[in-house]
């Protein structure tokens, strides 16, 4: 079963082509990693898939509903943690969750109950009354994750959820996500840290220069390579670069 179905997705910013025709079927109930170097178009793709950016061409279906024609069905079923966009930072962590949950039409008492549990699990209970503007990067990612999980979505889209996050917070986020996918939900997240993707994901799509270079289960994408890192460098064509001849003066003492 597919949770996300992308066909012929294009996006240009002026002369720059950010996403150059993506076709992708993401299986449901899996932990899916979207990997690629900086500027590969990961954020643009995720924005278009979640309805935050209008594509120039192409279609996106999430759990069987078209994102642009049937937003009512889609928006209730997905959770999003975007990268580079603010939260309502002048609310405290708890107020942000209360706002977010009620805005999605959940009953107030249920929102407060879920918020308390999420704040506890994500280790934010001590800072729940602090304004989000005073949160650290890791805390912001965690409160963003809590807001994305609050309405129990079927598919969760996370853009660089581990970027700038300390190891303790990263482990917490990881634990929550693993429990969530174990229940049959789908997580799609982008990253450029291969070790992380390799240890977390069952399914991987590799992106470079606005195109999908490879996709499939971790084993399929890794192929004969010892690590995902090697496979990835091979796929994006970065292994051929030999640094031995240049910079030969560097290191080795005087």
């Amino acid at each position: 079963m597919t949770s996300v179905r992308v066909r012929g997705l294009w996006k240009r910013f002026g002369q720059q082509v950010a996403v150059a025709g993506i076709d992708l079927d993401l299986p449901s109930g899996k932990f899916i990693g979207l990997v690629g170097p900086n500027g590969a178009g990961k954020t643009t793709t995720l924005s278009m898939v979640t309805g935050l950016l209008r594509p120039d061409q192409g279609s996106v279906e999430v759990v069987g509903h078209d994102v642009w024609r049937d937003p009512v069905e889609v928006k209730a079923r997905i959770g999003v943690l975007p990268e580079g966009l603010r939260l309502f930072e002048r609310l405290s962590g708890r107020e942000l969750l209360a706002y977010s949950g009620r805005l999605r039409g959940l009953p107030g008492a249920e929102v407060d109950k879920r918020a308390t549990q999420l704040l506890d699990v994500l280790d934010l209970a001590g800072a729940q009354h602090k304004l989000v503007v005073d949160y650290s990067t890791g805390m912001r990612k965690k409160i963003g994750l809590a807001a994305a999980l609050l309405h129990n979505p079927e598919v969760l889209f996370l853009d660089e959820p581990f970027e700038g996050v300390d190891p303790v917070s990263a482990q917490t986020i990881r634990g929550v996500l693993e429990r969530y996918t174990a229940s049959g939900a789908t997580v799609v997240f982008s990253s450029h840290v291969m070790e992380l993707v390799e240890s977390l994901c069952d399914w991987v799509a590799v992106m470079a220069a606005g195109r999908i270079r490879a996709h499939g289960t971790l084993d399929e994408v890794r192929g004969d390579h010892p690590t995902l890192q090697r496979a990835f460098l091979d796929l994006v064509g970065a292994t051929g670069r030999d640094t031995a001849t240049d910079l030969d003066w560097l290191g080795g003492g005087r």
Partner: protein, 527 residues
């Protein structure tokens, strides 16, 4: 080690020079502002000299010095980055004892345009009130004391608040600074006009208190000596000196603490206060999207510095213009509609006020109905404040002018105008969203200024045009024979018209909002 003072003074001069060397624009700005400030000071000086011998001169002088002192006290709160030597945390790694450091920093603070301006004003004040040799000598002592008091006050306030000033809260405060100056200028302007019409005698009651308050007491003592009241002069001298000593001690204390204690501002609080989840506010608001959105909008008015600044400006100007006009006897009651107009502007660029956090809203809007609920809730949040405030301004203005017969029609007009502003505000929010940068004083992101102007100016003109039926009715009832008896009708008519046009505006804005969520998000995410 006695050279600390000269080193710090030279440091200050170098910082000043290097700052000017950085760019031609900065140099020009500095020189221009220096010239303007000095010209202004010179004019004040001449004015004060002309005041010499005036019966109420001392009242004005004492008030002037008190205001000057107040200015020095609040200056570091609003312009924390103005003086790098002002930040003692930069000197933390140097092996300095507090006492020589205090002396050095105090001396260094005397260098600059601000102190020179203050000195000129103080000299003028002293000359204006000092009669006779003894008084002149006291005056010189008073000037020196007052100047040191001003500078020490600024330093003490800055040192006590440096943690605040370098934190997020301090930067929030700085956003409000322009506003305080603008509103303050209005009040001063009005006060000066009142004085011009009714004479300096009005100041006497204030002056009898202020002459005992440092730094005004230092100048007040020159006047006391002129009058021959040496006892009072001695008491004023004692108060001034005591205040100076106190300020320096307080400053030295906070300086020592700053330079020895670690900065704890980045430490995480171990346990925060436990508060109830729902505040009193949310219990009063309706359930569902409406109440949720209203609650956030109202919280943002208080907590977001940009939104707060915009609101305070609107509230202040909306009150000042009609009330001051009424006080001067030149005003018309119709000026009271100004409040409704000013407050209605807050409905403009609703989504820009969200910044890129608008994505959280966009993720929950999937139909025109959702968008309608969202916009209506924002308009309601506005009305919670605007409606009583606009009514209050109309009532106050009416009371000042004593024209109670016109109250219903002006209130009706205000409501119609408010409705038109909300309607056009909602519509332009959907059609012409633009970003509001969160840092600095700019309210429009680069490249979107034209958009902002179209939205606000076009919106206001069409808002006024939309009111035309109600305005026409008002004119007709006032002009037509026997029409005066029916002007009360304008209150229900204005209210109904305002409500209807707001609802219409929201209806028209909602589908466009729901269909253009990604475009709005892109437009409000710049900066």
């Amino acid at each position: 080690m006695t050279n600390v003072t000269s080193t710090v003074v030279r440091l200050k001069l170098s910082l000043l020079r290097n700052g000017l060397r950085q760019s031609g624009g900065r140099r020009t700005a500095y020189i221009a502002s220096a010239v303007v400030v000095l010209l202004f000071a010179a004019l004040q000086l001449l004015g004060l000299l002309a005041l010499r011998g005036h019966e109420h001169a001392v009242s004005l002088v004492v008030l002037l010095v008190a205001v000057l002192g107040l200015g020095w006290a609040v200056m570091p709160l609003f312009f924390p980055s103005g003086d790098e030597t002002l930040d003692p945390t930069r000197l933390v790694m140097l092996p300095l004892r507090p006492r020589p450091l205090v002396r050095a920093l105090l001396t260094a603070s005397l260098v600059g345009i601000g102190p020179l301006f203050t000195l000129l004003l103080l000299v003028g004040s002293a000359i204006a009130v000092a009669h006779g040799a003894a008084a002149l000598v006291t005056g010189i002592v008073g000037v020196v004391l007052a100047l040191l008091l001003c500078v020490a006050l600024a330093r003490a306030v800055a040192a006590a608040n440096i943690r605040l000033l370098t934190s997020r809260k301090g930067r929030d405060l700085a956003v409000l600074s322009g506003l305080v100056i603008a509103v303050g200028a209005q009040v001063v302007n009005f006060g000066a006009q009142r004085l011009g019409s009714s004479g300096l005698g009005e100041l006497d009651p204030a002056a009898t208190v202020l002459r005992w308050v440092p730094p005004a007491s230092a100048i007040g003592m020159a006047d006391s000596v002129s009058e021959g009241s040496y006892g009072i002069a001695a008491a004023q001298l004692a108060i001034s000196v005591a205040a100076l000593v106190l300020l320096v001690v307080v400053w030295e204390r906070s300086l020592t603490r700053l330079m020895t204690a670690p900065d704890g501002s980045t430490l995480q609080a171990a346990e925060s206060r436990d508060r109830g989840t729902s505040t009193g506010l949310s219990r009063l608001l309706p359930a569902g999207r409406t109440g949720t959105v209203m609650e956030r909008s109202l919280r943002y008015i208080w907590r977001d510095p940009k939104t707060k600044a915009a609101w305070v400006t609107s509230l202040a100007i909306g009150l000042i213009v009609p009330v001051f006009n009424a006080l001067q006897g030149t005003g018309s009651l119709y000026f009271a509609c100004f409040a409704a107009g000013m407050l209605g502007i807050q409905m403009y660029n609703q989504f820009g006020q969200d910044t890129s956090a608008f994505w959280m809203v966009a993720m929950t809007i999937s139909s025109a109905r959702d968008a309608y609920a969202e916009l209506r809730a924002r308009a309601l949040a506005l009305l919670v404040i605007t409606l009583p405030y606009a009514a209050l301004v109309v009532v106050v203005t009416t009371a000042l002018l004593g024209d109670w017969a016109k109250l219903p029609e002006v209130l009706g007009l205000s409501l119609a105008l408010l409705g038109a502003m909300l309607a056009t505000g909602a519509w332009t929010s959907a059609r012409f969203p633009y970003s509001i940068p969160q840092e600095g004083h700019k309210n429009v992101a680069p490249g979107q200024a034209g958009l902002a102007w179209i939205a606000i100016l076009g919106g206001m003109i069409s808002g006024a045009l939309l009111c035309a039926p109600v305005i026409a009715l008002t004119i007709w009832l006032n002009v037509a024979a026997g029409g005066d008896a029916y002007t009360w009708l304008l209150l229900p008519v204005g209210a109904a018209y305002g409500t209807a046009i707001t609802l219409l505006g929201l209806r028209l804005a909602a589908p466009h909002t729901a269909n253009h969520l990604p475009e709005i998000l892109t437009a409000v995410s710049k900066g």
